[in-house]
Symmetry: C2
Subunit: 558 residues, 2 copies
């Protein structure tokens, strides 16, 4: 067909100087801290200066459960942003930053795809503006100070068997998952078991993304639990006196990063917490700042709506006082077919029955999102192999579920292709029918919060948890953590905890394997299945073929 | 006396936009990659474009053996640069970047001091332009790929007991000095002993600082030895296929960073290798680029002249084809007194005899530097407590050693104070008497190179090395590494290997404890004493009091 690859399109982008992009939202040159000519951070002074503004409309882009067919959530987020700008709305896209490490395992990803991308793509897959390095540094500083505290006398009486603060590195390195540290005798400390996670799994990342400002950041960092004493009382980061220096290391990382779409519209790309053990959304400071300077802010959440949108609503919106005006659920004909039982190899052939059979997964997500009081638009992210009849089948199904589906061709055509979606979103958002409320109140007991999500979002019959887990939740409630929301860590591929159960299953159970307290980020992580916080590299890592060619271009990364 | 602190002076700096600083050396806005408004990287395109230019004069600033009294080598480097600009020379300062980690142990340092500083000081002590993070990432990628290679079948037959590639982190973390990794069973790999050094000790750092361009960088990275097989044959980085991706991670870090002095003169701050297990100079690419666009380039080398200047001459100049036109040896009256036996507490009182007694240390350095065929100027870095008689004693001593000493008051007065030094340096450099040659030829056997340095620079009688070390050197010669220079790792406090022997001792022995091959950087490290490659934090780390105050200023870092 002769379609260009994402990287080819990205490299042909006619980028404008980042100062011009800032100007579009009233950010002056002085308030932009440039990183090269196409990236910049927005100054705190500017952020402070717009606090009196009215908020624009907030649009969340989420999706059905991901399938190997690909849904194109970020692509749709970017395409919708460009479409809104095309019809005269000042729209700003807010998405997450990519983690560096995984790009060396599998090929790195674009931010978006086709003609709906955010650039500069290479930088965004490498060091970008250094935010993740700053997070790694801040995390590592606390690690070093903690062991240093033990080394010099352990005034806090830390039980070295109960250090819960693991180390991090932004690299896929399975050999660091489990280590013994402080070996080698007296001058190296007290030997203990330890291990590394990947940086995006750091609680520091989640905190950076949930903090309103630097004061809030410092306060939350101080509240992290790093270890327990023999009497089981928690040792906080502030007991180690690390939160001030960590904040200094994070002061630039806290400022949102401004880049541009292929159509030279502003995009904030900031923060990237895990979407399982954390909440999986871009930073609160980016979203709230964008709302102050835009008619529309288009943002996305990780994974499918059962995880991503749920956490966006129950964690990010709750904490930051945000309320979405409209939610776009991205679906594709191909993904509907996979949900309807078609194998990936057979997705090219028309199969209207399979599309219909797969639609209930989408239907469930529509119902769930509406239960938060927010109106839904379904975006059918167009693939060139989609047939009229297949598209019609999705539209009909959605219409029968009290929403409207719009075909969007931003991947192929940019904003020209997403204009219909943009018009529909404006119509729905400006009707003012949103009446957002989180799914559960703060004061509901923790276990009941888990049950609420499991039953109302996953449609499970029950939550299974042994006494140890229930007691742990009670203990945290007694310690004053009962008001926190819960952060579910389960497979993204199914409403159940079994990744192979597609569609819209009911009658299943949700077994809770473990609960963890992220006291600084401010949520209780509920682990329902195998959660990997340090990926490994494959047998032929992408890194083996990544190189600079003679023109100084990066090969093999995409 | 009411003198302002370095940080107070730095914060009062009237910085000019970095584009203006670039313009002073013909670097256009397009060729500057800004990092904020006061830092920028210089594009490769610009560097390529100036290759046809004539070189300016190269001035090395070195010092006597460091004492607790402080010598002010960087301060003098910056002051001399400003002084040269003051008298109408286009002078560019080239110094090293600071490592982030150690700032959280002891208070961080300025780049220079008083009215001879490079700014922005805070950034330069924190993430700066991310170079060291890029080095950490590149190093960590190779670490991960190496263990991944073993995990997936170990095609290279690496002997896991002989992995010599340690990990790095830019933090003082003694608990990581010695670890066991890959614990936890099948999915985490083959357990082995491992450990972390601080990032500046990485061979990647030394390579970045010695590479002429990105091609050279990639080639050198590929040549690093990461492990040995059971048959003792080396496994190279290129056997793991990591050098291409590492180069991609380092492509921005390779570009020199431009900042400014307090007097708005250009300074390149780039690279920061250890001065013991590596060569301790700023990057070749910064120095060679600065030479193409300046009348004068003022650079410095680590520690005293016995280590720093020797390595600058025998490693950096040899490899990069550089030849200094004049060497400035920094001395202070206070340091002369300490060399003459005065305790730090008693430095305030005039003591001409002690000054005279300490001068032979300076005399030895003058002789050594002159033996490279380069003329010497001694800079007496003025302290307000110095008396006329003490200063005169130093001047007389230096005059009797075939050089001239100039009192320089840049710390107190900026370029007004360093103008006499600048004029003297110009006089000496423009006389054209320099006739630089390294101390030993490439084809001298490795052990003889060690002896040459020990006898001619340290004035030792002999080098002690057991048969194992001598055989190792022979083996490397047989493998084709005999042409490499040697990189001495010994105490910086003395000409001998005993840090307590000040002055100008003779008749001592230099015991070689260990030799290491840095095959990518291109030198053989000769370890003569205890070398620490991962510092620890003190019992009250500076980090405990580092914080942002309500004005957003950093407290406790300086």
């Amino acid at each position: 067909m002769g379609y260009k690859s994402d990287i080819e399109i990205a490299r042909e982008a006619k980028k404008r100087p980042i100062q011009e992009i800032g100007e579009k939202r009233g950010i002056s040159n002085d308030d932009l801290l440039p990183y090269g000519h196409d990236k910049a951070k927005v100054s705190q002074k500017f952020i402070d200066s717009v606090q009196g503004n009215k908020n624009g409309k907030l649009i969340l882009v989420t999706a059905i459960n991901p399938t190997p067919a690909g849904e194109g959530k970020t692509t749709t987020t970017v395409g919708l942003g460009d479409g809104l700008n095309r019809i005269g709305k000042k729209a700003t896209v807010c998405i997450r930053e990519a983690s560096l490490g995984p790009n060396f395992g599998m090929k790195g990803g674009a931010a978006g795809g086709g003609y709906a991308q955010v650039v500069p793509m290479e930088d965004m897959n490498l060091h970008f503006t250094g935010d993740f390095h700053a997070i790694t540094s801040a995390h590592s500083l606390l690690s070093a100070m903690l062991d240093n505290h033990i080394y010099w006398g352990n005034e806090q009486n830390i039980d070295t068997r109960r250090v819960v603060w693991r180390r991090v590195v932004d690299m896929n390195d399975r050999s660091l998952r489990q280590i013994t540290s402080s070996l080698g005798g007296v001058s190296n400390g007290f030997a203990r078991e330890d291990g590394f996670d990947i940086t995006v799994a750091s609680e520091v990342m989640a905190i950076l993304c949930l903090s309103k400002n630097l004061k809030d950041l410092e306060e939350r960092l101080g509240s992290m639990i790093v270890a327990y004493r023999r009497d089981r009382s928690p040792v906080f980061c502030r007991d180690i006196k690390a939160e001030g220096a960590m904040t200094v290391l994070l002061k630039d990382a806290m400022q949102p990063n401004l880049v541009q779409t292929l159509e030279n519209n502003p995009a904030f790309v900031h923060g990237g917490p895990f979407a399982n053990i954390a909440h999986g959304c871009n930073s609160v400071i980016a979203t709230t700042t964008a709302l102050k300077i835009s008619d529309y802010v288009v943002t996305e959440a990780g994974f499918g709506a059962d995880l991503g949108a749920e956490k966006f609503m129950n964690i990010k919106c709750r904490k930051a006082g945000l309320a979405p005006d409209c939610v776009v659920i991205v679906a594709t004909v191909r993904a509907m077919k996979m949900n309807g039982g078609v194998a990936k190899a057979d997705l090219g052939a028309e199969n209207v029955d399979a599309v219909k059979a797969g639609c209930p997964n989408l239907g469930r997500h529509i119902e769930n999102v509406k239960s938060f009081g927010v109106p839904v638009v379904v975006a059918i992210n167009h693939f060139v192999t989609d047939t009229e009849a297949e598209i019609e089948a999705v539209k009909t199904f959605v219409a029968n579920h009290g929403a409207e589906a719009v075909l969007s061709r931003h991947w192929e055509l940019g904003s020209e292709g997403s204009e219909p979606l943009a018009r529909k979103v404006v119509e729905v958002a400006e009707a003012g029918n949103a009446n957002f409320a989180p799914l559960y109140p703060d004061d509901m007991p923790l276990f009941q919060k888990i049950e609420t999500i499991a039953k109302r979002i996953y449609r499970a019959d029950e939550v299974l948890a042994d006494q140890k887990i229930r007691s742990q939740l009670k203990e945290w409630e007694a310690q004053g953590y009962g008001h926190l929301p819960v952060c579910m860590a389960k497979t993204q591929y199914s409403f159940t905890t079994d990744p192979n159960r597609r569609g819209a299953p009911t009658g299943h159970s949700v077994p809770v394997r473990e609960v963890r307290l992220s006291a600084g980020a401010g949520f209780v992580v509920v682990v329902c299945g195998e959660i990997m916080t340090m990926p490994g590299l494959p047998s032929k890592p992408a890194a083996e073929t990544i190189r600079l060619n003679d023109d100084g271009q990066i090969e093999g990364l995409f």
